[in-house]
């Protein structure tokens, strides 16, 4: 890049052109992304409500009150636990299945492109639409799951009507919808592993499992971590699935932090909603910090 300076005597011209090119994005970005990010933080320290809409700067400063109130709010604690459960169950499940599929697809010589497209298909579809479909798949009577279970004589429960089963059921749908994304990432990672390494291990008499455990997994480590963090960040924000399938129920069993924030917003509690969203942001940052730590260690 810097070599261009010898050819181009007018660096100023270049800087002007660069800013002309950058300006539309930067201006929109400041107004609609960076500004609101900061405004949201500011609002989380105030008692702003929907009635303050026209005069958002004439509101009372309440310090950390929204945050302390959130931490003592039983419903917020519940939705935070639900969200954590969703991440803790969903990330390993999605990663595990995606890795198995990626290793398999990487191994086949025919139909690999076909498999890749097929497994990826749910990723491009609307969460709302697939949630509608899965809501009916999970139906107690006449749903596809319980119909299949009835073939082996099992009477399936009303998956989404149970306070214990509803959240895992939504997690399973998310794993189904998202594993194709991770599969593509893992496949790209797998293809950077030189075949020579596996051949050398084979000559040394390594079994398939040993090759996977001592070559594939360590070589794939940065890719796996990247996938885990991306998936974790996505799952931390789950909302549409519960909105459509269960409306957050039964008894708030599937209500998430984003759902809670949306609820508070619709109640008009803007300051409280902003504080809840910042606590979610904090969780995302923690995950990202972990990512950078691990990536830093690797390089």
């Amino acid at each position: 890049m810097s070599t261009t300076r010898h050819v181009d005597p007018t660096r100023r011209q270049q800087a002007v052109a660069a800013w002309v090119l950058a300006l539309p994005f930067v201006a929109l970005f400041l107004v609609f992304t960076a500004g609101p990010v900061l405004a949201s933080l500011g609002m989380s320290f105030t008692d702003i409500r929907s009635t303050d809409m026209r005069s958002p700067f004439a509101v009372g400063f309440v310090g950390l009150e929204n945050y302390t109130q959130l931490l003592g709010d039983d419903l917020f604690r519940k939705v935070a636990l639900n969200t954590a459960f969703y991440v803790v169950l969903g990330v390993p499940l999605t990663m595990g299945v995606a890795l198995a599929v990626a290793v398999g697809v990487n191994r086949v010589t025919r139909f690999a492109g076909f498999f890749r497209v097929g497994y990826y298909l749910p990723v491009v579809t609307s969460i709302v639409a697939v949630a509608v479909v899965w809501k009916f798949l999970y139906r107690e009577r006449g749903g596809l799951f319980n119909t299949v279970l009835s073939w082996v004589g099992v009477e399936g429960p009303g998956w989404l009507d149970s306070t214990t089963l509803a959240l895992p059921a939504v997690v399973v749908m998310s794993a189904w919808r998202n594993l194709g994304f991770l599969m593509v990432i893992f496949l790209a990672g797998l293809q950077t592993i030189p075949t020579e390494m596996k051949e050398a291990a084979e000559i040394d008499g390594a079994t398939a499992w040993q090759k996977f455990r001592y070559i594939t997994l360590p070589m794939l480590r940065p890719t796996l971590l990247f996938g885990a963090v991306i998936t974790g960040i996505g799952y931390l924000q789950f909302f549409e699935e519960a909105f459509v399938m269960t409306s957050g129920g039964p008894l708030d069993a599937t209500r998430s932090v984003t759902f809670f924030t949306y609820d508070q917003f619709t109640f008009g509690n803007y300051g409280y909603a902003a504080a809840a969203s910042y606590l979610l942001f904090l969780a995302v940052v923690l995950l990202t910090v972990i990512q950078f730590k691990v990536f830093g260690e690797k390089d």
Binding site: T4, L21, G35, V101, G113, E199, S277, Y278
Partner: protein, 301 residues
């Protein structure tokens, strides 16, 4: 994949896989061919991935009585398009569809154009503030959408844009993802191209539009498709901005029908899901190599 070369041809996933498997098949015996059971397992898994969509389509063409039968029929006994007729004639799905197309198109055009412009500036030009801009864009890559939506709603309300399509697309023309991907792609284009154009006396902006842009086809396509998909499926923001039915996008309409008074009309709702999902699946199948390439590019830096 930071070392992208000049060739504008996209990295076809099929190419990658033949590259990978051919030499292996020739050499090591255990790589010669995958065992049959692996195809069976992958095929079974594939069936599980696809079966909800098949079931969705099949149920959407059953009359309501058959759609709710226990145990359910698999293949429709009576084939009917009445659910689609209800969606498009009695309900206002044509409007929702057009709204979705308008919003997703506007968001896509903005992100592709502005993302490429800034991506090029960050990749190939020297300017004061460059590092700050890049850091700013990077820093917001991970921010959950829910963090901005309350202030954004106040802003859009005060701009008089609630319950307008403009209010739905205007705040989303500048997603960091497009910049990131364009910068990564353009950085791989040779500097000599730009230098040669400068020697020929081309202005800086002209270089971008007539030299760089034509070489960015695959990256532009990737950003465009992924942005379009994301916007088409976007839910929370249009849900908040649209207050009257004539401004609903497809996912908003479908979700509100699914939890509202139509919640028990299975055939109708699944037909609605078909209308939301099938266009996007068609786009995906037609252009999947750009999508795969884009995902792989974001994955391995």
């Amino acid at each position: 994949m930071s070392h992208k070369t000049t060739e504008p041809a996209p990295l076809d996933p099929v190419d990658i896989e033949t590259q990978e498997t051919e030499p292996a098949a020739g050499r090591a015996s255990s790589y010669a061919s995958a065992p049959g059971w692996l195809y069976a397992v992958l095929g079974g898994g594939l069936f599980l991935m696809i079966v909800p969509f098949i079931w969705m389509v099949l149920t959407s063409v059953k009359p309501e009585g058959e759609a709710r039968r226990v145990p359910p029929t698999w293949w429709p006994e009576t084939f009917t398009l009445e659910n689609y007729e209800t969606l498009f004639v009695k309900l206002d799905f044509p409007t929702y569809f057009i709204n979705s197309v308008i919003v997703a198109s506007a968001v896509t055009i903005g992100n592709v154009l502005f993302g490429a412009m800034l991506g090029y500036a960050l990749a190939k030009l020297q300017f004061p503030g460059k590092r700050v801009v890049f850091a700013l864009v990077l820093a917001t890559l991970m921010i959950p959408g829910v963090v901005t939506f309350v202030p954004l709603f106040i802003l859009v309300t005060n701009m008089g844009l609630t319950n307008t399509l403009t209010g739905m697309w205007l705040p989303f023309l500048s997603a960091p993802f497009g910049v990131f991907l364009m910068r990564q792609y353009i950085i791989g284009l040779p500097d000599e191209l730009i230098q040669a154009a400068r020697v020929d006396g081309a202005g800086e902006l002209r270089i971008f539009f007539s030299v760089i842009m034509p070489l960015c086809g695959p990256a532009l396509a990737t950003v465009g498709i992924l942005t379009f998909l994301g916007s088409w499926n976007n839910f929370l923001w249009p849900l908040v901005v649209a207050t009257s039915e004539d401004k609903y996008t497809l996912p908003v309409a479908l979700a509100l029908y699914a939890i509202g008074q139509n919640a028990t009309q299975y055939g109708l709702l699944l037909a609605g899901a078909v209308v939301v999902v099938i266009p996007i699946i068609a786009v995906f199948l037609a252009l999947q190599r750009y999508i795969m390439q884009g995902i792989a590019m974001t994955g391995i830096k």
